[in-house]
């Protein structure tokens, strides 16, 4: 594997693939915090040059985290189709980029070659793609999944209703769900982040949402985003869950910090398939986000983009209904400003899609980041153009429980109108029946939450 390059008279010598991968990244505070970032702009580009010339085999043959040491690496390795890999192993990363962007390559071809790719190869090609590259390549990929309803079709943009409440008040959660539905949001999932992580409380929220969905015949799915073990207990005690949720990390150690392992996820998978309330076959909801491994000190010196790709490698195993990167939630020590958040959002979406995952994005920021609502609106347009499966919607973008800002129900409605996108088909028909939408546009009664009282 070549690790040295001379550019404009200056020689750059890299020690390892790990170093090349890290330094090839766009500037991110998380890589700086880990101390693995490029020292200057030219070194960054030098690393990118080297990376572009490496072959896919170079990447597979020089594991950043060997399978013997890490179960996430093992899951990724086990997922590779050797025949397809053999057919592309001599491609350089640059060739992979150009293949993905070439006009002859469509969803069919990408669906085929993805089986020969590892998460690290996907991370590598992402590093040498520009923002518009990421948008165009991602827009070619369609990933349809089905839980109670199907989402992900071309020309469709779904939304998660995120009706969180600072103390899990059921009436309060309901009120925000009504608001979401009245703007046509909630087709991806009605998903609540609970404050109280007990089986009793999770069960109460699950059953309240389930009853509401049944009462109004809403073609969607429910989910309470507690720790997976709490959800499992709630389900065993009679909670009605369509989807099982869990946050993922890209290393075994990172997952340990989250209190999960592949074994536990396998067990949970069996439970939800057996005792979940959804039609399926896709019954998982995963969340990820650059930086979580470093925050748990479980990053092994690997850059946060690559670790993020590895999360997707793990997620694939469970054929999820939705995967969501919570792009700006973790804070300025990982993504400092809007530029970094926008970049990360596009990277994550593309990487997830190339993995064959039904990607959505929580376009968001915390108040100590150098970003504001305008930046989120920008990123939302870019992602919608890239064909994102769904976006997170919060009342006026302000999550009064998690204390951060995402997109508003208004924003999702605006994106649909602006880019001529529709809600998920079954949900759109329901909105029409309720009189909230007509010919893809909100009607005059939309935006009135008392429609559901």
């Amino acid at each position: 594997m070549k690790t040295t390059i001379t550019l404009m008279g200056k020689t750059y010598q890299f020690k390892s693939l790990k170093e090349i991968m890290a330094k090839a990244n766009e500037e991110k505070s998380g890589d700086q915090l880990a101390g693995i970032h490029a020292q200057d702009a030219q070194e960054r580009i030098a690393a990118r040059h080297v990376l572009s010339e490496l072959t896919l085999a170079d990447i597979r043959n020089n594991p950043l985290l060997p399978p013997e040491e890490d179960e996430v690496s093992r899951v990724i390795e086990e997922g590779v189709n050797e025949k397809i890999y053999a057919s592309i192993r001599n491609w350089t990363v640059a060739e992979l980029r150009e293949y993905l962007l070439s006009p002859n390559v469509t969803n069919n071809e990408i669906t085929h070659i993805r089986r020969g790719l590892t998460s690290e190869m996907i991370a590598a090609v992402t590093k040498i793609m520009t923002n518009l590259d990421l948008i165009q390549a991602a827009s070619k990929i369609t990933v349809e999944t089905r839980c109670n309803t199907t989402i992900g079709q071309k020309g469709r943009l779904a939304g998660r209703a995120q009706p969180n409440h600072p103390n899990d008040n059921l009436q309060g959660i309901k009120a925000a769900i009504f608001e979401a539905l009245s703007y046509g949001v909630g087709d991806a999932v009605i998903g609540i982040n609970p404050v109280i992580d007990t089986a009793d409380s999770v069960k109460a929220i699950l059953n309240m949402t389930k009853e509401l969905i049944e009462k109004w015949n809403i073609p969607t799915q429910n989910c309470v985003l507690a720790h997976v073990t709490t959800q499992m207990r709630a389900i065993k005690q009679g909670g009605s869950a369509d989807l099982l949720f869990q946050s993922l990390a890209g290393t075994e150690q990172g997952n340990k910090a989250f209190g999960i392992s592949v074994e536990l996820l396998d067990e949970a998978n069996e439970l939800i398939l057996k005792e979940g309330t959804a039609a399926g076959p896709n019954v998982w909801y995963f969340e990820t986000g650059q930086g979580s491994e470093l925050s748990a000190d479980a990053h092994h010196g690997i850059d946060q983009l690559t670790l993020e790709a590895r999360c997707y490698g793990l997620a694939k195993r469970y054929k999820p209904f939705i995967v969501n990167t919570v792009v700006g939630f973790i804070g300025p020590e990982y993504l400092y400003n809007s530029k970094q958040v926008i970049r990360a959002g596009l990277e994550d979406h593309f990487m997830g899609k190339l993995h064959g995952l039904p990607m959505g994005v929580d376009v968001c920021y915390t108040n100590h980041m150098k970003a504001d609502q305008n930046d989120m609106e920008n990123l939302a347009v870019l992602l919608a153009a890239a064909g994102v499966n769904f976006l997170i919607g919060v009342a006026m973008a302000d999550d009064c429980m998690l204390n951060y800002q995402s997109l508003s129900f208004h924003d999702i409605a605006t994106l649909r109108e602006l880019l001529h996108m529709r809600p998920a088909p079954e949900f759109e028909r329901w909105l029409e029946k309720m009189g909230i939408m007509e010919n893809g546009k909100l009607t005059s009664i939309a935006g009135d939450p008392t429609l559901f009282l």
Binding site: N167, D168, V195, I196, D197, T198, A199, D200, S201, A204, L453
Partner: protein
């Protein structure tokens, strides 16, 4: 992660009605409803019945003006055994004497006797208004009002009274009670009248009905009387007849004007009879020796005539006992200050002090308000100032330390001045500030007086409150007894 996902307390309900007595045992499950990062907060998250007694004919002494205590306690002991519950395990609940029975000579003493004997914190409840409220909670009307848009009335009709409560969107609008009941007139299957309750006599007179015991009555006449009774009640409920305190059919009311009603539920013994076929002869009418079956039928007819929507109650004859056993207790906030040796403490009348966020900053205003309330109290309860009472502070959502300290100083110094012999000071706050206030009062009082300061409880002037022993070392169960009516 929580170590305790929910624990239960055993609660009993005893309803001694005009004709029948009922007993239930329930489990009230309370659970922490706050995260690890906030102040602890608990709520009763589940109320489940674990035992229901059969209907038991309320035992009266021969003259029918006294309850037969011995027979009643004997039956209750048997019921506790059947339910597998020891009196010592009972931590909450209520005894209620309803309808006509409440007028019996020994009603009050029996009520308190049973409350004392039935468990650690079983409270005595009396009054038509509370009875109406508990029945409405037990019948399912309260729950329904949260789901529908209109006003839901629950009419609990027993042997002696019809207790009406109105709910709208989960709020209590008020109560009204009528002298309408199944056992106000008793008769045998030949049509011979065997008993006429004194409480219905004024109404019968006003309508020129001359009934006499031992005289026979025909079906037509009986039906006409019952029909008129129901019509009178429904006219009043629908606002076609104004509410007058001298109306002989009205027992008591909190309304001056009754708001429009959309739906009606009927609970109580009469509610249970709705399913039965309508009586067509005096023989059918008197199957239970009273006018109950006829009343059930006529009241439904009148409700339909007024085009009110009749909704089936989820509980009928047991609505009140279920309300008493399951719905009477609440729990306080979990950051409070109490002197454990003073608990339980029962039947505290409420002294109300209303202060908003602005008023509380004005030291002189606060001083005058509290002083005024205390002087008034002394006048009202002349010679009884040793009776403990509770001071309810309401209207404050935020309060700074400096202001709260000033309030504590004023409160304690005035209390000491006006009630020097009271060994305990009980304060009930609306919002979560009881621990801070309690601690300031402790520092003020220098241990001369025991302090009980609890919060997240809302009471009204005229209410009484019972406060139980601490649960889980952090909160107390409370029962608020609303006695708001104009005429009784």
């Amino acid at each position: 992660m929580s170590r305790v996902e929910g624990q239960s307390i055993i609660s009993v309900g005893i309803d001694i009605g005009t004709s029948t007595t009922k007993f239930i045992v329930s489990h009230l499950k309370y659970a922490k409803v706050s995260s690890h990062f906030s102040l602890p907060r608990y709520e009763i998250v589940e109320r489940k019945i674990v035992y229901e007694s059969p209907m038991y004919l309320t035992p009266l002494k021969e003259k029918r003006d006294e309850i037969d205590l011995k027979t009643l306690t004997g039956w209750l002991e048997e019921q506790y055994k059947k339910a597998g519950v020891n009196v010592s395990e009972v931590k909450s609940g209520a005894v209620i004497i309803t309808g006509e029975t409440a007028t019996k000579k020994n009603a009050e003493s029996i009520l308190h006797y049973l409350a004392e004997k039935s468990g650690d914190f079983v409270v005595a409840i009396a009054g038509a208004s509370l009875e109406a409220l508990l029945a409405g909670k037990g019948s399912g009307a309260f729950l329904r009002s949260k789901e529908v848009k209109g006003t839901v009335a629950n009419i609990d009709i027993g042997g002696g009274t019809a207790n009406v409560v109105l709910f709208r969107r989960g709020k209590v609008l008020g109560t009204i009670t009528y002298h309408v009941g199944g056992r106000l007139i008793e008769l045998d299957q030949n049509g011979e009248i065997t008993f006429i309750s004194p409480s219905i006599e004024p109404w019968l007179h006003s309508k020129n009905y001359r009934l006499e015991v031992k005289k026979k009555i025909c079906f037509k006449e009986m039906q006409q009387i019952v029909q008129e009774m129901c019509k009178d009640m429904l006219n009043s409920l629908t606002g076609q007849k104004l509410i007058r305190l001298d109306d002989s059919l009205i027992h008591s009311t909190s309304f001056q004007v009754i708001p429009p009603i959309d739906e009606v539920m009927i609970s109580g013994g009469i509610g249970q009879l709705l399913e039965k076929e309508a009586p067509k002869t005096i023989y059918d009418t008197a199957v239970y020796g009273d006018i109950g079956p006829l009343l059930a039928h006529e009241v439904v007819k009148e409700i339909e005539n007024c085009s009110l929507k009749l909704i089936k109650a989820t509980q009928t004859s047991r609505a009140t006992v279920i309300g008493a056993g399951m719905q009477s207790a609440e729990i306080s906030g979990a950051t409070i200050h109490v002197a454990p040796s003073r608990l339980p403490i029962r039947n505290l009348p409420i002294m109300m002090i209303e202060l908003d966020n602005e008023q509380i900053k004005n030291r002189d205003y606060v001083y005058e308000q509290i002083k005024h309330a205390m002087i008034e109290w002394k006048q009202y309860f002349q010679g009884e100032q040793e009776i403990p009472f509770a001071i309810h502070i309401r209207g404050i959502s935020y309060c700074s330390y400096a202001v709260l300290k000033e309030v504590a100083k004023i409160l304690f110094s005035l209390y000491e001045k006006y009630f020097p012999r009271n060994p305990v000071l009980v304060v009930i706050c609306e919002n979560d500030i009881a621990k801070a206030l309690g601690q300031l009062l402790v520092l003020q009082s220098n241990n001369k007086v025991d302090i009980i300061s609890i919060d997240q409880v809302v009471v009204e002037q005229g209410d009484y409150i019972d406060i139980g022993e601490t649960i889980n070392q952090s909160m107390v169960p409370v029962v608020i007894k609303t006695l708001a009516f104009m005429k009784n």
